[in-house]
Amino acid sequence: MNHSRVESYPITRFLMGNEAIARGVIEAGCSVATAYPGTPSSEVMESLSRWKTELAHKIYLEWSINEKVAFEVAYGASLSGKRAAVVMKMVGLNVASDPFLSAAYLGVRGGLVVIVADDPGPHSSQTEQDSRFFAWFAKVPVYDPGSPAEALTMTLKAFELSEKYHLPVMLRPCLRVCHARQNVTFSLPTEPVDVGAFEKNWTGWAATPKFRLVLHGELNQKIEHVSLMEPDAVPHLVAGTLKSRLAIITSGSVSSHVIDIVTSNPEMSDLSVFKVSLPYPLNRNNVQEIVNCNDRTLIVEETYPVIELQLSDRTNVIGRLSGHVPQEGELVPEIVDRIIRQFIGAKSSSELEPKLKARRPSLCAGCPHRPTFFMIKRLFDEAVYTGDIGCYTLGVNLSAVDTCLCMGASIGMACGFAKANGETDKRSRIVATIGDSTFFHAGVPALINAVHTGANFVLVLLDNNITAMTGGQPTPATGFTADGSVAVPVNLERLVSGCGVDFLEVVDPYDYDSLEDALTRARTYSVDQGAGVSVVIARRPCIRTVKLDPQALKFEVGANCDRCMTCVRDLECPAISFVKKDKIVKIDVEQCTGCGFCVKVCPEQAISARRA
């Protein structure tokens, strides 16, 4: 964001949804923002850091260790009288659900906005959960923006609503808002809001169960007020006319597809399209009135039937519950078009499909995880490989990841696999793999549990010193935090030892012999001797963070290659491919980073450094 000339407000820029949300957080006079990275939410914190620099703003920013802690830090800031925001992806809310639900009862002081990005599809996630449903479960109002520009406006509104009702408020952008870009107009930030110092009151802020009952009653009243009094809980006409006898009620990212489709199609010009900003808590009477005024009403929302379920009479309502809207998958424009055509009884338009399947993602050429997975596969032939969440889930391509449940589960599940069949059973051979950031996030308690219960398995910590999958955010082991300010690096070895682990080795995964040696000794310790959990830290920075040396060696396949395919199949390096036409194995110079691991992998020793 280099702008040489001095700009005067309002300013219009081409902003990503996540940048617009960050702008809203700053503009609202927020003092503390916390986050844990996760697609599609990660750019909110990154943009906050850029806005902070551009505006020389004082907001405190941190990448927290996980979403639960991130929520608690933001909640503490709210109780101390300042506005606070916490940002995560939807599965992060599962981790933060404990403080989230409790905070709804206790309420807030400074406005607290919980920004949860949903990933219908899913494109980069384990589930397609709808965070609006989670907001309903917690009895927390939720804004559902349909575009980057709207995301900014709704962020500002969310802070206001939160402070007005002393409630946390959720902002739920979907992927198509987070990663959309749009010309967005914004203004000058307001001064940080301060509602006054924390006032001690244990029946309110440290309520025992007896007082929780009282708080639950108050929460119900607040939600009732929001639904009856707030204009955003009422759907507004955004396209079409009121003359029609057919209505659509929609919200959020999918509302944008609905609007484009209805306004560009003459067959649909009689439809009335209503959009609601706060899909929970809805003004139920008002929505019911829309339904009652029309012959039929179609509900189009992403991803669960949140609006639909709040309607008491669904006789003339069409949606997910009636089976007219698919129960899973993203509502992309083609599907929305089909649903609306069915609804009005129009002929369906022909649907076009891609001719080819999309290319599967793969660990980068030179990724330090690749040698580690290769060696695990080579040394632990009959083992079960419990995997985890991050780039290294792509170890599936090397057949070195068998399970992937959720953040940190590689270690907990390894324990279960190890305990289920007894120590001597082959099925009890387990290798768990987890990245450094994921280990800090949720692996630590699981490791303590495994040590304590004497589980025998090998844990390989894939330490690339960064949160790579989501774009390279710092971890607690990094010496800086979200805005680049100095942080205290937490030493991974001391942490692992502190969990009670007695076998700990650190190796460079590019070093074939040392890697083989460390994993072999770990196997002896945990599998052969049954001496407990062994931990091998495979440490090398993410290839994407390293400045590649243009003089680095490149490698080539010699004439003695017998096409055994070990390098192509077992190493699965994107730089190495089998050229069908010429029946040769080839290394792509553009992609090769010169790690040289393939040299040792080749049984025929056919790979060697290229002559310059």
């Binding site: 081409f14 599609p40 198509r176 959309a180 870009r181 010309n183 944008s256 076009l352 999958m469």
Partner: protein, 176 residues
């Protein structure tokens, strides 16, 4: 109103092109909306961007509605051709000759001759913007790239843009 799809593999500069066109449109006071791929797919997988200039609400181009497809990788073209409307045009980074409605340029080769393979996206853009109205003009793009402060980046980008444009000019002469 223009609707574009830009496609390629992770790391080929698709997001850069999308942002560049969007920023230019924004500075011209136009309404513009786009959608990008992030996350796991970017790890060498297939990626595409959607860009719509005009009064649109949705960031996604519907299948059969794109005016142009800018493809950084010929193997990705067939993944995305279904987005094109009847009469839609492909601009492709490829060694093959152009044909009806598929205009090709060896963007990779030209970028390498400038010294950086990473410039192939800008070569393709220069090529496409010289042959079609992408919603913002070739001159707009050139002006935008010319205000880059880093000397080498600016020079390289402008050279790449012109290299693409030169091939387009030759192609036009051939067609006429």
């Amino acid at each position: 109103m223009v609707q574009l799809i830009l496609c390629g593999r992770g790391g080929q500069g698709i997001v850069f092109l999308t942002r560049l066109l969007g920023e230019i449109a924004t500075q011209k006071g136009l309404d513009v909306i786009s959608s990008e791929t992030h996350g796991m797919a970017v790890r060498g997988g297939s990626i595409n961007s959607h860009l719509k200039i005009g009064p649109f609400s949705s960031p996604l181009v519907r299948t059969g509605h794109a005016d142009y497809l800018l493809s950084m990788d010929e193997s990705e073209t067939s993944n995305n051709e279904h987005f094109l409307r009847n009469g839609g045009v492909v601009f492709e980074n490829s060694l093959l000759p152009s044909e009806h409605d598929v205009f090709r340029v060896d963007a990779g080769g030209l970028a390498r001759s400038i010294g950086r393979i990473q410039l192939e996206n800008v070569v393709l853009l220069g090529f496409a913007a010289s042959l079609a109205d992408l919603g913002v003009s070739f001159d707009d793009i050139e002006d935008k790239l010319a205000i880059e402060k880093r000397e080498t980046v600016r020079r390289n980008n402008l050279m790449a843009l012109k290299a693409g444009s030169k091939v387009a000019t030759e192609l036009k002469a051939l067609i006429n």
